[in-house]
Symmetry: C2
Subunit: 219 residues, 2 copies
Amino acid sequence: MNLEETLNWRYTTKDFDPKQQISEADMSQIKNLLRMSPSSINLQPWHFIIAETKVGKERMAKGTQGFFHFNEPKVTNASAVVLFCAKTSVNEDYLTHILNTEDKAGRLPTEDIKNGLFGAMNAFTNIHKYDLKDVQHWAEKQVYLNIGCFLLGVASLKIDATPMEGIDVKALDEEFGLREKGYTALVAVSLGYRTTSDFNATDKNPKARLPENELFTTL
Amino acid sequence: MNLEETLNWRYTTKDFDPKQQISEADMSQIKNLLRMSPSSINLQPWHFIIAETKVGKERMAKGTQGFFHFNEPKVTNASAVVLFCAKTSVNEDYLTHILNTEDKAGRLPTEDIKNGLFGAMNAFTNIHKYDLKDVQHWAEKQVYLNIGCFLLGVASLKIDATPMEGIDVKALDEEFGLREKGYTALVAVSLGYRTTSDFNATDKNPKARLPENELFTTL
């Protein structure tokens, strides 16, 4: 599919066919997609918990109890569920770790370039630490950027997705011991294949978007 | 290009060729991409200022003075610059406007469905208004999701992009009268075509990402 076809094909799936499984080759592409997402200063402030087994999805369904019970079938009937977790702090050790990752990849041929990059990473981080005081939100925004990239990317593979903010993040943080590891659950995205009876994913139910004249100012 | 090729081809461009312009057909696809992005409860809390002319890019460059002067050539040499703006508040009038947009598109065949959706929209918004008290961050996260979808989408068209948080949002808010209109500037994305001498976009400069064992927990 080209871009326009992918955008038209993509729907937030409300009803997964529990009998259809994503192939191993596609799961490998899905992981590559998560890993290759851009982020500000290449911060990569994320971790991904991927449930593919019945037991794994049952653990994930601990985030869809009580108020969020309406999302439970989207977890249990999916082929896989990706829990997007955000890093809860960004300190100099972590920035050094990212810097070393850049270095290992061969992106920092001289000490000057390495020092320059580290200075820029600290300068940007400090805007969020001291001026805006929003480091955690800044990190979470990068995770949302990854989610946006992810939703278009999986659609290009003709895999259906359901992004869910409607999850009990505290229950999932506890289930997976996330807070102790420096992460917190943010959004779950279920993956699989829509049923033919999915009310949301049909041409009879066209996507609703604000009109162009409200959205764009062209200069 | 397939997904893997697109991910490998995509780089944050550091050097645009000022002589290469994006075609009208591609600019039309770019607008469609911005418009069709998903968002939580279909909130679409965004507005896009698109500078395509020399005068438009000069106005955009008011956001790349002083501390952010290093980003100025990425604005002036780009073929087009998209300024992603976030809505600064979400009130019941706006939710009604979104509901009516869904209705016009034909997504709400009965009053029951319409009322159910409006209840859900309010319930989710109220989590952010009263429990998390983060409505503005929530709206901005949706804009970041759009940016992520956008960066992959334009890459699939073989158009280069440079996302920039490093802009003077206050200067841009003033230049475009955004705050009075209920928006604030968030991120600019320059679009165009890399030069062959762009140091960042070359196979010799491979993308650096954290290793899989740090990124993934598989269940």
